[in-house]
């Protein structure tokens, strides 16, 4: 085969001119830093919002801290001074943000302890709920969505779509009650409430089994809505991707339909689902309030519920802050994951 003589000696094809040597950051690092900065900004906005809510609450922070304890007028005045309530609103905001940034949410009167300690004690239960629900709903929902798209227009698709619609339209707390009625009240298969069987002194594997039995119903109740979401988005995303040109190229190469579907199309169709996970985590921290209250689980959601009814603003806003922080962290991790899944992302 004869190679044509190149017309120029430089051979700079495709990539353009050699990159100018510079101190500029690599695109990937720039992307990570930008995302980090955005996360910090978002947390600062959450702090400002939290401050606004405190200002809207009847009584001020010190009233709340004083709570049921008897404080002298002097003590109250000195507390007011300590928290800067005699200063301008802007200074108060800065001080408040500084406190939040060090996880100092103030005192929780109903628990007679710093709000942060209360939250830390309740965090693990909620974390377990959220992690189990996200992973389960994502896997199950995606499978449903992909199946529906594989058989688009056929009976399987219709069946799955109807089921998704039912799950989508039923609020999680109604599912929770339904599950309790069936599996706890009628069938007695699973415990009705709580995180573990009290007073049994289980250890080791038995303990894990006991906790798992307690968690089956709450996790299921939290999952259903998002199974439907992932199913619907997954189906739509697959159908969208299957219309793209590269799918035709893949078929034109003579690849098996399975490879075209599960390797070429699926990888691209997964991208919007991954983005969804961030929103889901946020929504689960909200849903946990209902589910933990119904199932009597000692988590952050239940704590928020108690705080609302006992007017413990510090504790309530502490829960809001910690949940938001968790969501920001999850979103950051997802952004990093995205960088691996979609090689184009850090060019945007």
């Amino acid at each position: 085969m004869s190679e044509p003589v190149p017309l120029t000696g430089t051979g700079t094809t495709g990539r353009g001119p050699a990159k100018a040597p510079s101190r500029r950051l690599s695109p990937a690092l720039r992307y990570v830093l930008r995302r980090l900065l955005q996360a910090v900004l978002v947390m600062m906005l959450v702090m400002v919002g939290s401050f606004l809510l405190v200002k809207l609450a009847p009584g001020d922070m010190v009233d709340a801290m004083a709570g049921t304890r008897d404080l002298t007028a002097d003590q109250i005045a000195s507390l007011r001074e300590r928290y800067g309530l005699d200063q301008s609103v802007f200074v108060q905001l800065i001080r408040y943000m500084a406190l939040l940034a060090t996880f100092d949410f103030g005192y929780s009167p109903i628990n007679a302890a710093p709000a942060m300690d209360v939250i830390l004690a309740r965090l693990p239960v909620t974390a377990i709920l959220v992690v189990c629900s996200v992973s389960l709903s994502m896997v199950i929902g995606t499978i449903f969505g992909v199946l529906a798209s594989r058989f688009a227009g056929k009976a399987v698709d219709l069946g799955i779509s109807l089921f998704m619609l039912l799950l989508y339209a039923t609020p999680s707390f109604i599912i929770a009650i339904l599950l309790i009625l069936i599996f706890a009240v009628k069938l007695h298969w699973l415990p009705i409430a709580g995180f573990e069987s009290v007073g049994m002194g289980y250890t080791g594997l038995t303990y894990l089994k006991d906790v798992a039995a307690h968690l089956i119903l709450p996790v299921t109740a939290l999952c259903t809505f998002y199974i439907a979401i992932y199913g619907r988005i997954g189906r739509a995303s697959m159908l969208e991707v299957l219309k793209l040109d590269f799918v035709r190229t893949a078929r034109g190469k003579g690849l098996t339909e399975g490879r075209v579907f599960y390797v070429h199309a699926l990888r691209n169709a997964l991208l919007p689902l991954v983005t969804m996970a961030g929103l889901q985590v946020s929504s689960l921290f909200g849903g946990a309030v209902l589910i933990e209250t119904i199932f009597g689980l000692p988590g952050m959601g239940r704590t928020a519920f108690d705080a609302v009814f006992q007017r413990d603003t510090n504790l309530l806003l502490g829960v809001v802050f910690i949940s938001s922080l968790a969501v920001v962290i999850v979103n950051f991790v997802i952004d990093m994951l995205y960088m691996v899944l979609d090689p184009r992302v850090n060019l945007k």
Binding site: L165, Y168, I180, S282, S283, G286, T293, V319
Partner: protein, 281 residues
């Protein structure tokens, strides 16, 4: 107007659109007739307490723990659900559309600032924030509506922004700039009417979500104590789960049917307004 009527006509020819519209019309009729059929309101203790459905022909759906008839409760509850659902969704729609349109069209730092604000609202767990707002300010219908709308608008804002970003590169928008049209007029008269389809579809989902959140708040005991909502009955039912699960089932069915009909309408709107997606089926 003609466009709206023809849209309704097209919806009626779509199977899920038809089912959804019939159901939603029934709910609307319930809320409209509540005051006429039950002038005494939902709170009257009309009969013996804890009557199971069918036990007494005067109370086909039974009575609650205080002997209140469940049928007027359902009718008045429909009123609250629709009122809160539609007004919260409407408010979210307006905020979201304005924020999304401004961010998408002007771009630059305006876009950055508005999108970080949107991020912040999407980061705070929505239901938690709603509870915090209602819990701190106090439970009344306006506050509840506000608490729902304030967490719902970011979804619309993102949607509208994405669409405006796409449309603003279109040559017809460029051409409007060339003829010297003002930016506001370009956004609201030229661009936004072209994003209507996804906004309308999302609006139906938004109403459904708002209804769920209102019911959830009332279920937790954070509803407006002066109005009878489906959530109020659910809250009462929760305490009677072992012996009177019908108290949960009756409002739950009403809630699920309402939400489902709105979602059916949303799906149908999506098909009718985006013929592109329909080709595949």
């Amino acid at each position: 107007m003609r466009g709206a009527l023809s849209l309704l006509g097209r919806l009626a020819r779509h199977p899920s659109g038809l089912i959804g519209m019939v159901l939603i019309l029934a709910i609307v009729a319930m809320s409209a007739l509540a005051g006429i059929l039950y002038p005494d309101g939902p709170w009257t203790m009309a009969g013996p307490p804890r009557l199971w459905p069918g036990a007494d022909p005067r109370f086909p759906l039974g009575t609650d723990t205080f002997g209140r008839d469940l049928i007027p409760a359902l009718f008045y509850g429909a009123r609250v659900s629709l009122l809160v659902g539609v007004s919260a969704a409407g408010a979210a729609l307006v905020i979201g559309t304005v924020v999304g349109a401004i961010a998408g069209y002007w771009g630059g730092w305006v876009d950055d600032a508005l999108m970080r604000l949107t991020d912040a609202f999407q980061t705070v767990p929505n239901f938690l924030l709603s509870i915090a707002i209602v819990g701190i300010i106090g439970a009344s219908l306006p506050v509840i509506t506000f608490a729902i709308a304030i967490v719902a608008w970011p979804m619309i804002a993102r949607l509208v922004r994405a669409d405006v970003l796409r449309l603003r590169t279109y040559d017809f928008v460029q051409s409007c700039k060339i003829i010297g049209m003002s930016d506001l007029r370009i956004v609201f008269q030229q661009i936004l009417p072209n994003c209507l389809a996804p906004i309308i579809v999302t609006a139906s989902v938004l109403v459904a979500n708002s209804i769920i959140v209102e019911a959830s708040l009332a279920f937790l005991g954070l509803g407006d104590p002066n109005v009878m909502s489906w959530g109020t009955v659910l809250n009462i039912g929760r305490q009677e789960l072992r012996n009177g699960w019908y108290l949960t089932a009756v409002p739950a069915v009403a809630l699920v049917l309402t939400v489902m009909s709105l979602n059916l309408i949303g799906d149908a709107l999506n098909d009718v307004l985006n013929p592109r997606l329909k080709e595949r089926k």
